[in-house]
């Protein structure tokens, strides 16, 4: 029985983190797949969302600004807004320029965000990071939540305490995973709607033939900034969920650009950029490979170090991690060269007849 719970929880964690990455990939799909904007600072937007959420929702602390103990959804929402504001700043400057400049600027802003997080110790607790970040569902079992409104309406603190004592300590895990999957689904539906709506078709038109789109009087720069900001807001939300999942965030290892930004890119390209389902599929697929390869590596290192007892297993452990990163990098190159469309190629929202919502019918502007 215990073993099955273990497998079940592993599966849930795959779904949880895979789902968070799916949200990152969806956000990137708006920027890259829809609008052709090259963002290599995903980790920066993630960090903004995560830190905003963390500072707003944690209990008051002497280590960092706040926490303000605000409701969790509010923290997530403000995280999105903050991420969107950063994106608007970058977008307004760089989107009118050549695509390379946006790439450089996004990598730059991600670095600057990291610098701020590291150096503004009064606000962020610097390299030590923010901990005890409330996680959805699990937070109900914290005293500061059940002892106050609205949970206090339904039971006294003692009752709640007794209630949570009876639940297995992983009770929140399926609920948290389900919440994330629900968020993935909602974002997916919204993006699908946007994609087939006039806005989405205009994005396609701009990406495929910018001069023609400009000539027909479309405000190309504005549309692009919109896509960039929306994508960043989604990434900010994913960042907030990431903070919930980890509960402790710090500037360097949590937000390692190599990992977050790069994995998201590989996910989107593998799944099929421009295709929302592809983004989700790619995220779960790559995350499963990534996570399973860790198990395989750990297992084989255990085996090797049993045979060759002179080897230091921690040495192999760190090297193997980088080797895995390198292989993922090579995988990305292979996909780029051989399978540029990904598993699920982009489906053009061509004819309004194919749209199953009214937005398509009214949307025949041109």
């Amino acid at each position: 029985m215990e073993a099955y719970v273990g497998y079940f929880l592993y599966l849930l964690s795959l779904l949880t983190v895979g789902g968070i990455y799916a949200i990152f990939a969806l956000g990137l799909n708006v920027q890259w797949g829809f609008a052709g904007l090259f963002n290599v600072g995903i980790v920066g937007f993630a960090a903004v969302g995560a830190y905003t959420y963390a500072l707003l929702t944690t209990a008051e602390s002497t280590f960092h600004l706040g926490g303000f103990g605000l409701p969790l959804p509010l923290g997530m929402f403000v995280g999105m807004i903050m991420s969107a504001i950063v994106a608007a700043f970058i977008g307004l400057i760089c989107i009118r320029l050549r695509a390379d400049y946006l790439a450089i600027a996004t990598i730059g802003i991600a670095e600057i965000i990291k610098l701020v997080l590291k150096n503004e110790t009064e606000i962020t607790n610097g390299p030590r990071g923010v901990n005890k970040i409330p996680r959805f569902w699990e937070h109900f079992s914290e005293e500061r939540f059940y002892s106050s409104w609205p949970m206090s309406w339904f039971g006294t603190s003692e009752n709640w305490e007794a209630f949570f004592d009876k639940l297995p300590n992983w009770y929140w895990q399926p609920l948290f995973a389900a919440t994330i999957l629900l968020i993935v689904y909602i974002i997916y539906r919204m993006l699908e709607r946007a994609r087939t709506a006039p806005w989405g078709r205009m994005m396609t038109a701009i990406r495929e033939n910018e001069p023609a789109a400009r000539a027909s009087g479309k405000d190309v720069t504005r549309r692009r900034i919109e896509a960039f900001v929306i994508g960043a807001a989604i990434m900010g939300l994913a960042g907030a969920l990431f903070a919930q999942h980890l509960r402790l965030i710090e500037p360097t290892n949590t937000f390692d650009p190599a990992k977050v930004t790069f994995l998201t890119w590989v996910m989107l390209i593998l799944g099929g950029s421009g295709n929302n389902r592809g983004a989700i599929l790619g995220a779960f697929l790559i995350w499963t490979i990534w996570s399973a390869s860790e198990l395989v590596i750990t297992g084989s290192i255990g085996l090797i170090s049993n045979i060759f007892s002179t080897l230091d297993p921690s040495f192999l452990q760190t090297r193997a991690g980088f080797l895995r990163m390198m292989l993922i990098g090579i995988l990305m190159q292979v996909i780029l060269q051989r399978y540029p469309e990904g598993i699920l190629p982009e489906v053009r929202p061509a004819s309004p007849k194919a749209d199953n919502n009214d937005a398509g019918l009214t949307g025949e502007t041109k």
Partner: protein, 317 residues
């Protein structure tokens, strides 16, 4: 006054030299191959690791033959390392960039972004993620120089490593100038940078020009990497990435596709980063040293708003 010169201005110039050499490669790649090479910093970093390996191998060889004092100067060890760096550049181009030559630019930018992680991970697999000491000990100021200058009433304290870095940079920049203005291949590089299409229909061998670009960029990148570790005396796998932003800022500041612009941009960014920590007002640093990298970014953002073509009117897009 002398504190300013010795602890802010000279280190700023040293950093500027390193940025300048890195930015030359970036700006040439941008001008001739038309893309921002995100892997450039990692190539610099691997050049430094290779140089260290050559030095260590030489010392080990000496020990093997019973000479405990064999040591190779980094500038000599740099030569075989630079050759390897050039090979890495040419191989990356052949296998990862060339397939996208006719595709949209952003594809090759993505490929270079992938290369950035592949190269860094490879270095981490081979040499491990931890810091490695490049040269031990505290660098003492050059005695002759401080004696001469103090006789003249000055007080310049400069360790040998900085003298080497200045000399190396000057030699490389002069050589680059000669190459670009006096040699056939150098003029062709400028021509391709000017207009690849016209170069093509003029009959210029563009593939050859591209190879030359990687070779020049590789030499400068290896030198920049080695100069950096000569200065910090420490090898780190993240140092290439940390250099990337200031180098791009330098290339943009100088005007994309303009090698001299990149040199000027590099020196300005290097100086600005170091001088930003000088206590201009009161006793505390004007800007916390933690934000040095931010200076480069701020300069870049301002340039992109005010003058995207750069100081020397490079290509603007």
């Amino acid at each position: 006054m002398w504190e300013f010169v010795n602890y802010y201005f000279i280190p700023g110039l040293v950093l500027g030299c390193i940025y300048a050499l890195g930015a030359i490669g970036i700006t040439l790649t941008f001008g001739i191959l038309r893309f921002s090479n995100f892997a450039h910093g990692e190539i610099m970093m691997s050049g430094a690791y290779l140089t260290w390996t050559v030095m260590a191998a030489f010392t080990a060889l000496g020990a093997y033959f019973g000479f405990s004092d064999w040591a190779l100067h980094p500038l000599i060890a740099m030569v075989p390392a630079a050759a390897l760096v050039i090979l890495i550049f040419l191989a990356t181009d052949r296998f990862f960039y060339k397939p996208f030559r006719k595709a949209e630019t952003i594809k090759v930018v993505m490929a270079s972004f992938g290369m950035m992680l592949i190269i860094r991970s490879a270095v981490q697999v081979i040499w491990g993620p931890n810091q490695i000491t490049f040269v031990r000990g505290i660098a003492k100021p050059n005695a002759t120089l401080s004696e001469i200058t103090s006789n003249m009433g000055l007080q310049i304290l400069m360790p040998n490593k900085h003298l080497f870095i200045f000399a190396g940079t000057i030699i490389l920049v002069v050589a680059l100038g000669y190459l670009l203005n006096r040699t056939r291949i150098g003029k062709a590089m400028r021509a391709v940078s000017d207009s690849p299409d016209l170069a093509h229909v003029t009959g210029i061998n563009v593939d050859k020009v591209i190879r030359a670009t990687w070779i020049v960029g590789g030499i400068c990148a290896a030198a920049a990497g080695v100069f950096l570790v000569m200065d910090t005396q420490m090898l780190e796998t993240t140092m290439g990435f940390r250099m990337l932003l200031p180098m791009f800022a330098a290339a943009i500041l100088g005007g994309i596709g303009k090698p001299y612009g990149a040199v000027a941009g590099g020196l300005i960014i290097g100086l600005a980063e170091e001088l930003s920590a000088y206590p201009w007002i009161g006793d505390t640093p004007l800007l916390s040293p933690g934000y040095k990298t931010g200076v480069a970014f701020a300069i870049m953002v301002v340039m992109l708003i005010v003058r995207p073509q750069g100081l020397f009117k490079g290509r603007s897009f």
